[in-house]
């Protein structure tokens, strides 16, 4: 079991770091780099949403944290002159702190109520970005410089993006590394004591509270981790697009994050990654269908839901029987 997992992991690494760039180089579809970078970053955000699903909460507010993260990084880089690499964790931590403050009251809500409040949260973030002076209103923050180099003790780990001949590959590599780290962390969380406790919350909150699980602390913790992921995804997005607007992340994006999780399968750690890939990449490929793009996309989504209501990864379930 251990060996096969290691094999699968290395196969995945080989695919994303070697085969995909080779394939893109061979076909000349350089735009795929941008699409796949977006997939990797969105799946980081979706990983956060998945974690809130894991404690039994429907989170439609990830767009808010992505927007906040993007703005924190953009403001620090443009106005404070801070290195992008430093703003990345700062953006994540800032989101985590905000989410603790917001989460303390709203995590008492359940089911549809929590879902609706988080949906409203996305609107709050957008409207705040429009109204606050520091975010520069509807004009947004533009011409954010590309990330500079990251060096430790004079040793260059990541070269400055401006000096790269093809920054798109650089962004792709960076986003994929971020995605892999995120999912390793997520996988570790799920297979730890914390993960077991989260599962108990998902199944029955009263029962787990009655046997001494600190449910209030756990759900705030899970929500903070989730928002941290959202924040760093948003910060990376702002840096790649070199701009951020109040409309960069709207309600539709929040809903999409949730859909990625659903489609991949809520019971599987790698579900959101697969779901993001299928939905986002599929959407991109469907652009050849022009005005029928949305029709086909949503039609396929509804069909998938009818055929596999428990997510695409539930296909594996039938073969192996259980987890």
């Amino acid at each position: 079991m251990k060996a096969s997992r290691l094999l699968g992991f290395s196969a995945f690494l080989l695919a994303v770091f070697v085969l995909v760039p080779l394939f893109i180089g061979a076909t000349g579809r350089w735009d795929f780099f941008y699409t796949l970078t977006s997939v990797a970053l969105l799946s980081v955000g979706a990983a956060g949403v998945w974690l809130t699903f894991y404690i039994g909460r429907i989170n439609i507010g990830q767009g808010a944290y992505a927007l906040v993260g993007g703005y924190v990084s953009a403001i620090l880089v443009t106005q404070g002159g801070v290195s992008f690499w430093l703003t990345l964790p700062v953006a994540g931590l800032f989101c985590a702190v905000i989410s603790i403050l917001i989460g303390l009251p709203i995590l008492r809500l359940r089911g549809v109520y929590f879902a609706m409040v988080t949906l409203v949260l996305t609107e709050v973030a957008r409207l705040s970005a429009l109204a606050l002076p520091i975010t520069n209103g509807a004009k947004g923050i533009t011409s954010i410089p590309l990330p500079g180099e990251l060096s430790v003790f004079g040793l260059t780990i990541i070269p400055a993006f401006g000096s790269l001949s093809n920054p798109r590959i650089g962004f792709y590599m960076m986003a994929v590394v971020l995605m892999i780290v995120t999912y390793l962390v997520l996988w570790r969380i799920v297979n730890s004591r914390l993960g077991h406790l989260c599962r108990s919350l998902q199944q029955n909150e009263e029962l787990s509270a009655s046997i001494g699980v600190n449910t209030a602390y756990l759900r705030v913790l899970a929500y903070a981790i989730s928002s941290f992921f959202g924040g760093i995804a948003g910060a990376m997005f702002a840096s790649i697009a070199q701009s951020i607007y109040p409309s960069s992340f709207v309600v539709a994006d929040s809903v999409n994050f949730m859909l990625y999780c659903f489609l991949g399968g809520l019971g599987y750690v790698f579900g959101p990654m697969l779901g993001t890939f299928l939905l986002y990449f599929g959407w991109d490929l469907l652009s050849i269908a022009r005005e029928y793009q949305l029709l086909i996309y949503s039609g396929v989504m509804i069909l998938l839901m009818l055929v596999l209501p428990n997510g695409v990864l539930s296909l594996l379930d039938k073969k192996e029987g259980g987890k």
Partner: protein, 289 residues
């Protein structure tokens, strides 16, 4: 002051009608209908097509919206929601379905009606003017009165008809209702059809005043969610209260806060978050009854 209250009442009547449909669907199916705003837009476009392009009277357009949306709701329940609810491991799966339907309806609206803003000419002319204190066009008054009338009819239907009683029973306890011989499948279908019909009717009513366009669906859904959160999800009186409260807040906010820029909704949202932190189930949140 009187003007603000009149505007608030008018807005509130529309909102309450939208929220009623959403809350009905929610209480019966436990589904948060993401496609509610799209259904509303669809209803508006149907009325527009019948009235402007076919040249038929407004009431025909309104009826056409109601019938078409009711059929759409029934079909969606029968062939989409029912199978997924039956086979899915988690309740939330229906949300993906609802969101998918919202996208699908957006696509259908785009293909059928285009992306232009559409409106229907005024159905009555003239402006009501009470001593310069309340100024309101007659068509708005008519639409407001029609909306209130529809709300009354809906409540009467839910309270006194056999089908209404069955639906209330379903909302209270699905299992118990089934054991008492209520045809669950049939009344679920009827409930969704009714909810969709209400959305279509509001669309048909409002197309005469504000018009409709493709982009209105999502924001309308969010407003409807707000209303049922204020009032309490799944409660008729809550939906009505939520609709009127939101209408009033919007009307007051647009007047009082206009000096500070476009922050009315920001204030409403912030207030709502605080309110929900204190009272998570909304004003009247309790099982339907």
């Amino acid at each position: 002051m009187e003007q603000i209250i009149a505007n608030g009442l008018y807005l509130g009547a529309q909102y309450a009608l939208i929220a009623l449909g959403l809350t009905l669907i929610f209480s019966l199916m436990n589904v948060l209908n993401f496609a509610h705003g799209q259904m509303y837009v669809f209803g508006g476009f149907v009325t527009y097509t019948v009235v402007v392009q076919l040249g038929l009277p407004f009431i025909v357009g309104l009826l056409a919206s109601a019938v078409i949306l009711a059929i759409m709701g029934a079909v969606i329940e029968k062939f989409l929601f029912a199978p997924v609810v039956r086979r899915s491991k988690r309740d939330e799966s229906t949300m993906l379905l609802a969101a998918g339907i919202a996208f699908f309806l957006d696509a259908v609206i785009l293909l059928l009606f285009g992306e232009k803003q559409r409106g229907v000419p005024k159905i009555v002319n003239g402006v009501f003017n009470w001593d310069m204190r309340i100024i309101m066009p007659y068509d708005r008054i008519l639409i407001g009165v029609l909306a209130i009338l529809l709300i009354v009819v809906f409540i009467a239907f839910m309270n006194y008809s056999r089908a209404g009683r069955a639906m209330r029973a379903l909302a209270q306890d699905r299992m118990a209702a089934q054991l008492m011989g209520v045809d669950v499948a049939r009344y679920s279908m009827l409930g969704l059809a009714l909810g969709a019909m209400l959305a279509g009717l509001v669309g048909g009513l409002l197309v005469t005043i504000t018009g409709v366009n493709l982009g209105m669906g999502g924001p309308t859904s969010i407003k409807a969610f707000l209303m049922i959160m204020i009032g309490g999800a799944g409660v008729i009186s809550g939906a009505i209260a939520g609709g009127f409260i939101l209408g009033m807040m919007e009307s007051v906010g647009l007047t009082v806060l206009s000096a500070y820029g476009d922050i009315t909704y920001l204030v409403i949202f912030a207030t709502l978050m605080v309110f929900l932190a204190v009272r998570p189930q909304g004003l009247m949140g309790k099982p339907w009854g």
